[in-house]
Structure formats: C-alpha cells, structure tokens
Symmetry: D4
Subunit: 152 residues, 8 copies
C-alpha cells in the first residue's frame, strides 16, 4: 500500500491536522508529515512534491489557510491525487482558503474537503477510500468503520 | 480498470457535465451516466449507489445544483470515492451547491471540485489520477496530458 | 393531535434544540427526539422517516449543521411537512447549513427557519401553527402565547 | 379544505409566482392572489392578514424581494402558517430577501423556501403537505405527485 | 426642536443603543426610548409610529437585529425620517439585519447607518445633522463636536 | 427651502440617478447635479462640499460604485446630512459600494439607502422627508405621495 | 527604467488585460506579455519568474481568475514587486480570485488591485508610481495624467 | 533611501500595525507613524498626504477598518505608491475594509494586502521590495530575509 504525505503550510497547522494523522493510523495507512510553505519555501515544496511518487507516496494531503496555494501548487507538480484541506485562522475564517483550493481551473484538480477539523479527518478517510480500491484489508477496515457510525 | 458512474440530479445538468464524459473518454475510462435526483428519486438513487461497487464502478462523480445533496447522499451509501461537482443554476449561482457538497461532516468525505464546467472536467481528471494509481497505461496518458498543458 | 419528531444529525445538537422541545411541551404537543445522521446512519435515518407517518408523526423537525442534508433527506422520503433548522458549529457559522436546507430544488420543500436557537424555537411554534389548523385547544394556547408577546 | 392566500409585494412578482398558483391548482387547492406591499400599503396589508383566517384562509404564502418584510409582517398578524418566498430582482439577487425572511427572531416563524421559481413551486407543495394532514383526497394527489417524480 | 424616538426590537438591544442616547444627550436633543418588537408587538409598534409625529417626534431611530423589519415597518407608517441601525446578535453577525434594513424597495426609505455600536452613535449624529438644519444652537454644538475630532 | 446637491463619482452614474432627480422634481425640491470623483478630482470635490452649505444646499446626495468613498468624503467635510447611494457596475455588483458607504466609523454618519435604482429614488424621498420637517407644502406633497402608494 | 512583465494565466485573459498594456504604453513603460499558467505550466512559470529580474524586469503584474495562484506563485520566486489582478470568469465572479490573491500569508506580499478591468488599468498606474520614484520623466507624465483626471 | 509613512485611521490600530513598524525596522527602513482619520480629521489627513513626498516619504502605508477610505483618500492626493492594509474590528470582520480599499476605480490604485496582522507585515515587505529596486543594501537584506524563510 502506498504512503500518504501530509503537507502543511505552517507549523501552526499541526494541531488541527492531528485528526488527519490519527485517522490514517486508525486505518493502518503509513503517513509522513512535512511542513513546507508554498510561498516561503517554494523550491523545497516543489522538490518534495516532484519526488513524492517515486518516494513511495500514492496520495498527498495538503492543508493551508488564507490564500491557500499549497494544494494547488502540489497538484500542478504531480499526477497522484492531491486532497486539499482549507484551514481557518484568518479574518475570513477559512472562506479564503476554501475558494483558493476548490476553485482550481480546468486541468489540475484538487479534491477539496471541508474547512478545518472535519476536513482534516475526511481527508484521511478519502485517502483510505482511494487506497482501498486495491487493498482488501483496508476495505474491510473501512467497512467496519462505516458500520460503527463512521467514528472511532 | 474500474468504471466511473456519473450521477446527475437533473436532465438539465447533462450539458455542463458533457465536459466530464469527454475527458473520461479521452483517458480511455469507461463511464455510465445516470440521472437520478437525491430528492425526487431517493430510493432509486440509493439503490444505484448501493450497487455501484458490485456493478463494477470504482468511482462515483455526482453533480448537482442548489441544495446539492446528491454527492453526500451517494457518499453515505458507499465506500468507493465520491467526487462532487457543484453546479450553478440558482440565484446563488453555485455557492449554495458548493457549501452543500464540500462542508460534509467528519466521517463521510466528498472530494469536491470547482463550481461548473471547470469542475466537470477536473472531476474526470481526478478520477483518472485515482485510477492511474494501479493502471500504468492510464498513468502514461495522464502524463502525456500534463505534458500537453493539461488540455486536449 | 399528531406527534412531532425532532430529528438531529448529532448528539451535540441536543443543547440548542432543547429550545424546540421546551416550546413544543409548552404548547402541549407530544414529541420524540431521535439522533440519526443523514450521512453516518443513512439507512436508519431513511427507515425512521419512511415510518414516521404511520408511527403517528404529523410533522418532522430536522436540525443539522455544515452540509445539512438531514432535512432534505427526510423531506424526500415522506409527504408530511418537514421543518429544517440550520445550525452553527462550522467555520461558516451556519451559512452552509442554511443554504443546504433552504435551497431545495422544485418538488421537495423544506420549511426553513432561522439559524440556531431562534430557529429551534420557531420550528416548534411553526409546528404548533400547523397542528392548530385542526386543534382548537392548541389554537387557543397559540393565541394566548401571542398575547403574551410570543414568549413564555 | 382551507384556501391559500398568495400575497405579493409587487405586480412584477406575479410572473415568477405563477408557478405557485399552477401547483396549487394541480393539487386542487383553492387560492386567491393579492398584491399588497408591506411598505407601500401597510394598512391594507395588515387588514388583509388580520382577516385572512376568518375569510377562510388556512395558509398565507407571501413572496417579496429586497428587504422582504411581507412574510414577517404577515406572520406577526396571524397564527395560521405563513410560507415565505424570497425573490430575486435586486443587486443582491435574492440574498437580501432570503435573510430578511428566514432570520425571523424567536416567537414569530416564517416557513422559508428557496429563492425564486423553485421556492414559488415548493411553497405550493408545502402548503399541500400541510393541508393534506387532514384531507385524504389531497394526500392521495400528493402521493401520486411524488410517484411521478415530484413534477407534473 | 423636535424630539427623537429610539425604537428597539428587544430589551437586549438597550446596551448597544446607550451610545445613541448618550450622543443625543450630548447634543441637547430630547429623546424617548421605546421597546416594541415589529413582530411580537406589531399593533403597539404601529400605533406608536403612527402617533409619533403628533406626539412631538421629528425623527425615529429604529434598531433591530436578525430579519430587522422594525425600521422598515416604522418607515411605512410615518413620513418623518426613519434612521435604521442594524444590530449583531445572530449567526450572521448583523449582515442579515443590514440587508433587511438598507435594501428597502423604492417608495419607503430608511436612512441606514453602520452595524452595531458605530451605527448607534452615528444614528444620533445624523439626527443632530437633520435637526440642526433649523436649529442654530444645535448647529454650533455640531460644529464644536467636529472640531473636537467628532468625539466627546 | 434648501436645495439638494446630487454628487456623482462618474458621468456613467447619471442614468441610474435620473430617478433621484425625477423624484426631487416631483416633490418640487430644487437640485443641482455635480459630477466630481472623490478620487480623480479630490480637491474639486472637497471644495464643492465645503461650500455646499453656504451655497444654499441643505442636503447632499452622493452616489458611487466600487470603493465608494464619495459619500463618506463628503460627510467628512460638512455637517449637513449626506445621503449615500451605493451603485452596481463592478464585479461585486454593489456589495463593495454598500460596505464602503454604510460602514462609516463613529463620528461621521452617512444615511445609506438601497443599492442602485431603488436607492436613487429613496434618496430623493428621504431628502423630502427631512426638508418636510419645516415645509408644510412639501409635507402635503409627501402625504399625497404616500396615499398614492408611494409612486408617481 | 526597468521593464514590466505582464503574466497571464490564460490566453483568454488577454482582452481584459489590454487595458494594462495600454496604460503602460501611455506612460512610456516597456512591457512584455507572457501567458503561462501557474498550474498547467508550473515549471515554465517558475523559470520565467526566477529569471525576471536578471532579464531586466523591475515589476511583475500577474493576472488570473478562479483559484488565482499566479501572483502568489510569482511573488514566492522573486523579490521584485508583484502586482496581482483578480479576474472574473468563474461562478464566483472574481471573489475567489480576489481572496486567492490578496490573502497572502505573512512573508510574501502581493500588491492587489481591483477585480477586472479597473484593476488591469490600476496595475499599470501602480507600476508607474513605483518606477517614477526614480524616473523624473515618468513622474512628470504621472502628474500630467493626474491633472487630466487620471484618464487618457 | 526614502522614508515610509504609516498612516492610521485610529489610535486603536497601533497594536496590529506594530508588526509593520517592526518589519520596516528589520529592513533598516526609516518610518514615521501618523494617526489621522480620513473622516474625523480630513483636512489634516489631506495636508499630511499632499506634503508627504516633499517631506521625504517615498511610500505611504495606510491602514483602516470599516468603510476604510484612508488608503484611497491618500492615493487621491499623491503620486507616490500607497499600500492599503484592511483591518478587522467591525461586525463584518474586515471584509468591509477589504472591499473599501481594494475596489478602487480606474485611475487611482491602492496596493492592497491581506486583512489584519499578515497584511501589516506584508505592507512592510512590499515597501522593502519597492525601495530595494534602487537600494542594493536593502536588496541584500531582502534576499537574506527570503533565505531565512521570510521570517525574522
């Protein structure tokens, strides 16, 4: 099974994204967390994304607030699925991040989930659904999770 | 390779979603289009979604406008990935559909793309990225597509 | 007089919806509260709604936050009136729930009230107004309530 | 069976509200249309609403655009259910009307439906659902309507 | 000099509107405060407004939150100037009140000021500007106020 | 009776503001129209406003679109009442102008009316209401106007 | 005097941005137009920006619609000023582009101007203001432009 | 090197704008802070701006909340670059200030940055980028700042 990269724009995003790591762990999915801003460390971010697939990642989950370019920048440098999590933390409370992530122009999709902690968890579950297409063990854990009311 | 189901809330959504079918065809992905409103044909919709996986579908792309429940209703009845496309056509011009699709509560994700025609195309490309994780031919077509500026 | 079902998407919605139960009690209307998420317990939710009328319910009050599909899902499976209460609790502070409830497409109405606690109370009063069309005792209590400044 | 009053703020609202009259007719519900602005004819409006119940009306459907006070003003002068339809026609395209109708303070509910033509039709269907609680013939027509995909 | 009526939709609006009374006092303008909801005490509200002019009021300042109909209802029953103050206190934080006050249809104006405490004070200053058109003493106090940086 | 100045930010605002002039004429109020942008002709605009009162103007009606500073700039240089009319014509369709006009900080009020043509007319009626406080002939025309449904 | 690069996300942005080129020409500022999407040609875009300064550009004007990452991506790869122009063309009519451009996190600024054609022109004037800090001829043309009402 | 003027609409804006001063100091840019409301001290504000260039200022950073006219008013009275910082502090939480600053009409640009503290810092960095076009020492500090992750 492929690994999932969790890419954060800022150290301060770690707390809300712990829900993501916890859900991935629950499903037995290996993940790595990387903090690298699309704006403040653009070369490092691009290099990480370009090498993600050959480094064994199947999916990138990218979370950011404000003018949240991280998911879109990631998506523009890879063809593995990129899941975007808009975060709060600005005066616009995440609407800015939502629009900056979901409104990608034709050609480069980002699979966008809800703003904040619900989105952090759902990014992990969506990753599990994608990986479970070719992993029967994971599929069973996913079905079990659903049977338990989609909580753990 | 798994098939993709394109689920529409209304006949009138077919035009904008043609971009989705065209892109899927371009990538050589088999798809079926089904019109079934979450609200006006709820039982038929639920039955279609519940049987989707065993009928050979790997991914559901669901598009709807207004209080767009179709993607979320689909996601609640399956564990294959559901991609949601918010459509315009109301006084709120798709913001209603966007919020009704992307703001799913923790537990049941919908992979949301942009409002309208850009989203219709990106839903297909996202489906291709997911399926290409285990399909090297598709992966090559995807890389070719990217090399050509993500247009065809 | 018919009973009123109060359907909640989550245990955490109980506090704000206590205003609804209290108002129904004040009017002498029998109610039952049921927690069943449209997304996490879709089959249970649908079953409850499909049987609501024959189980003696005349009205369903459904409250939910975020991509609040619960009222619309309920409305699609019954022909008794469904009253929808949008709740806060997300980054969008209830605007997402409002749009996801009120913007129902033609064919399946949801009677939407205000976001949050005002809506919780008004859902009960609206239910009383509906039931009072054929209940003179309730009508009198409603008129009394109005005379007292619509508060108790 | 009680009659339904359709109250409009302006002659120009008649076109979009024809959908409402047509649906009421389809269900065999008697209705009367009255144009009376909450702002330009306040006394006439109040008088009409105060007498509505004794004049045989069971439900008022009130439609207005901009700072749409008509449904709320109606609701404050009667205890029969008031259904509010927010209309477009301003620079804010109906969001102003939606907020002015749905955000009623605790005590005086308005059953709000979608902005514009979908809301016009759904107001009629909601009225049918309410009246069908004590009218088995109407209930049958409503069930038939549902069976036909909630269209006619 | 005419008096100013301060009309509030709810007791809870008194605190923010104290800024209004204080500014009126500073300018030596006589005012009376009246709490009367447009929705919960419609007849009392209408009676107060209809008699305002003959009771010596030259201006009505009306403040309300949510679906804030009070200023518009007042304006529809008098031809003295009505100043509307949108208040916060709902999930929409005053945007609902702003739209419900400022978007009055052609024919019945409400002079709308800012949401909340800034608007409460500015309503008083606007009243002073109107009354100063025919009161040289007030005009001087207004000019003095301006010279002091429009604060006191 | 004092005159009313109609101040426009741009020649292109004349068409929608014709409704304002027409209503003022109907009420027999003398007005002068001046085009002077707060941004492109700031000195000319300030000079006009500073001299408005001694040039016989009792009220300024200022209309502008986009970042509509004209009404606020006018209000900061005079103590006669300033009525602001937010105009459409930008991508934000007048919401930008509305916020830039109505949200004046404490100290300097602008009497804001609706966006666009309804606001243009209501600015004139509001001016009439203010001037009628000391003009019995105008008061009668205003009462007549109201009796005719606030239209002419 | 340094040149100005006009960077567009799409061929279709050329029309609205002609206003930008025209204004730059009017001021005698040399410019080059480059179409390169941040998402569809990320490497080409980054390479262009990284070399901009040594290729003689002093300022980059970047225009894009939807999830408009182009200005922010440019800003992250250079230390010359980047001016961002949000464009319409999506269901959200440019609000998405505005938020995606202006809400840059601390560290990497983008000088944002108005949505659409006004912004296209103002980007050129802002560039002229910046370059005129060290160019007396340009300063004179700018003062002349202002004297003529900031139009040409 | 030219100095930077930091112009604030209110004493209460000093706290959030300390980030701006600190960043300017870090870059070795001389700055002066001036509190002068566009509305409450219009003449003083205009006089300060008109003399800014000859008093040695190369750039004005203007910050304001609500109907934030300060940056636009400044821009209308000078041809040096004006950077606008929208501030929170109203019921609309800075969206009002953002629209009132960024949506300047064609002819008079304001270089707008993010709402609140991120914008305060980015205004300083943008000023540094502009001044570094002709200051190699500053350019080096800017490059050093970037190398350190655009933080200090």
């Amino acid at each position: 099974m492929g690994k999932v990269a969790i890419l954060l724009g800022s150290e301060s995003d770690k707390e809300v994204m712990k829900g993501c790591s916890d859900y991935l762990s629950h499903f037995g999915i290996e993940s790595e967390l990387k903090v690298s801003s699309a704006h403040r460390q653009p070369d490092e971010t691009v290099a990480f994304v370009k090498n993600a697939e050959k480094n064994g990642f199947s999916i990138i989950i990218a979370a950011a607030g404000m003018a949240a370019h991280l998911p879109g920048v990631a998506a523009s440098h890879t063809t593995i699925p990129v899941i975007g999590v808009p975060l709060t933390g600005s005066a616009l409370n995440g609407v800015d991040a939502l629009y900056a992530i979901v409104q990608m122009p034709a050609g480069i999709p980002v699979a966008t989930v809800a703003i904040g902690s619900a989105g952090a968890k759902n990014a992990a579950i969506l990753a599990a659904e994608i990986l479970a297409l070719h992993d029967t063990g994971l599929k069973e854990r996913l079905l079990e999770f659903r049977k338990n009311g989609s909580r753990f």
